[in-house]
């Protein structure tokens, strides 16, 4: 074990920044015609999280679970693992997250009442909207082409950010603590990877982590106060 402790993080980043971004280029090319479908499904999630209808809630959660699976196999396994052997060890965790999302949905743990004056709701919505609409455009912001855009369902980072947003909106305490660790770990590891590669995108993930921290530190609202602030209450269903 001593030998392992002698390595630094940068010793495990055995690929260049150029290779890293071209991985997204490749997986987007592989997705091809499915890319607009993925983007459309992401937008459906944006609508789905507002719904209090049981079927829509379940469908949204299962869609999110499917996006974790697609990200695991299409990106991690097929493209990332050949340049980063550690990536294949992340695949079981992605599948675990997908399974837990499905399980939490079926046990109605992803049905938090939506309160208009709940900061978590708006932080979560902001994260989800960012992951779906703005994060893909960062490739342009940082001088790359849209070919290497990070799309939810393909990019682990985008998928993790979207999940964090959805959890802030919908998760009850049990689901929150069960489902938060893996997307948080994805964001942390990606931030470290991008930092080692010397890319400014690392700071995006640091900001996401700070947003989550702020959200978790925000005092819970008393659900019995201000009933007029309730947008939708899961107990109605």
């Amino acid at each position: 074990m001593d030998a392992w402790f002698s390595y630094r993080l940068s010793d495990f980043i055995l690929f260049s920044e150029r290779v890293y971004w071209r991985l997204f280029d490749q997986v987007n090319t592989l997705a091809g015609a499915l890319l607009p479908v993925l983007i459309a499904l992401g937008c459906l999630m944006l609508v789905g999280v507002w719904s209090r209808h049981r079927t829509v809630q379940t469908a949204t959660a299962f869609l999110l679970a499917a996006l974790w699976i697609s990200s695991a196999f299409l990106f991690l396994w097929h493209y990332y693992a050949p340049v980063n052997w550690a990536a294949r060890y992340a695949v079981p965790f992605f599948l675990l997250e997908a399974s837990l999302i499905a399980l939490m949905s079926l046990t109605r743990q992803l049905t938090r009442p939506l309160m208009r004056n709940d900061p978590r709701l708006w932080l979560g919505f902001s994260l989800l909207a960012y992951a779906l609409a703005i994060h893909p455009l960062t490739s342009l912001l940082f001088g790359r082409t849209f070919d290497s855009a990070e799309i939810v369902g393909l990019s682990p980072d985008a998928t993790a950010i979207a999940t964090l947003g959805i959890l802030l909106i919908t998760a009850r305490p049990l689901a929150l603590w069960l489902l938060l660790p893996i997307p948080l770990a994805v964001c942390m590891l990606s931030a470290l990877t991008l930092y080692s590669l010397g890319t400014p995108e690392a700071w995006i993930l640091v900001i996401v982590l700070l947003v989550i921290l702020v959200a978790l530190l925000t005092p819970k609202l008393n659900l019995h106060d201000g009933n007029d602030a309730v947008i939708a209450n899961a107990r109605d269903w």
Binding site: A3, S16, V19, R22, L23, Q26, H78, Y79, V83, N84
Partner: protein
């Protein structure tokens, strides 16, 4: 090479099919007839001449299944051989670099003059033989010219295995590597106590730790030395670019900072070969050009180090 292809990896097949459309169609050629004369140093244990500039693959050849980058890597290898290079070094730790080398060797044809240097890197002593066999399949070579214990990981059992392989003719040379100066004491102990053909260490104009003890010991023991990270992963190039190259650099024909830095490394008499890594054909040619011109002498080396310190 064809007898080695029965064990070809699935990834290699994927790479080849991916690269087919964009293949640069580099023709197979007779490398020895076209290669220029480059400066060589003798491997002490056999006297075999080795061009003093080789090719590293750390990071640069880890390109996965990217057809464009695979072909770029093959072009770098072609330019390397054309310019007179021989030693290419890799490791199972370097992601897909071994597969990229295998792709390049396949593309360039079987007559490449490659001196294949690889490593064994596993903390489980029982996995060493299997890892080496897998590495050979990924390169597509029947045997390696040089096998090294990577970063001294489980070095005792692995060195035993490498000695057995050498005795059986399954590898020509054996050695050890480290890229960490904090392990130099243990490294020296192994050099003292084990029969080695090669050592591989990090060495450049800023990182000169090995000049005091390891390089003199290597010369004393008759061990060839491979110097890795001569540019400290491009950091030295970035650090000095924009700074003036001294006029006296022309005395040993260093035309830019890369050549200045590389000539410092290869002018040490204990260095057998250095292995700068690159993704660019023009850079590999520039690196090999260092092996054809004059090198700084001991006084000029001191002047180079002092100048760099002053910047």
């Amino acid at each position: 090479m064809s007898d080695t292809h029965s064990g070809i990896s699935r990834r290699r097949l994927v790479q080849q099919s991916l690269a087919l459309a964009g293949a640069s169609l580099l023709p197979a050629r007779s490398w020895p007839e076209t290669r220029p004369a480059v400066r060589t140093r003798a491997i002490p244990s056999t006297g075999e001449a080795m061009p003093i500039v080789g090719l590293g693959t750390w990071i640069t050849f880890n390109v996965g299944n990217d057809a464009t980058l695979l072909n770029e890597s093959a072009a770098v290898m072609a330019a390397f051989f054309e310019a007179g290079g021989r030693m290419i070094d890799s490791s199972p730790m370097y992601g897909s670099s071994q597969d990229t080398l295998g792709f390049g060797l396949d593309t360039l044809g079987s007559s490449t003059p490659v001196f294949s240097a690889d490593k064994v890197w596993t903390s489980n002593a029982n996995n060493g033989a299997g890892q080496i066999e897998h590495s050979q399949q990924r390169w597509g070579v029947p045997r390696f010219d040089l096998l090294q214990v990577h970063n001294l990981v489980a070095w005792e059992p692995h060195l035993r295995l490498l000695r057995q392989m050498k005795a059986a003719g399954e590898v020509r040379y054996i050695g050890i590597t480290t890229s960490e100066s904090r392990r130099h004491a243990e490294f020296e102990n192994v050099m003292h106590g084990q029969p080695l053909d090669f050592i591989q260490v990090s060495y450049n104009i800023i990182n000169r730790d090995i000049e005091d003890r390891i390089l003199p010991l290597a010369m004393d023991k008759g061990i060839a030395v491979i110097a890795n990270r001569p540019f400290q992963q491009k950091q030295l190039i970035h650090r000095f670019e924009g700074k003036p190259l001294p006029a006296w650099a022309s005395e040993f024909e260093a035309e830019n900072w890369a050549q200045f830095l590389l000539k410092y490394v290869i002018s040490h008499p204990a260095i057998t070969c250095t292995i700068p890594a690159t993704t660019r054909v023009d850079h590999v040619r520039e690196n090999l050009a260092c092996a054809t011109g004059p090198l700084p002498d001991a006084n000029q080396r001191e002047r180079m180090a002092a100048y760099v310190r002053s910047l």
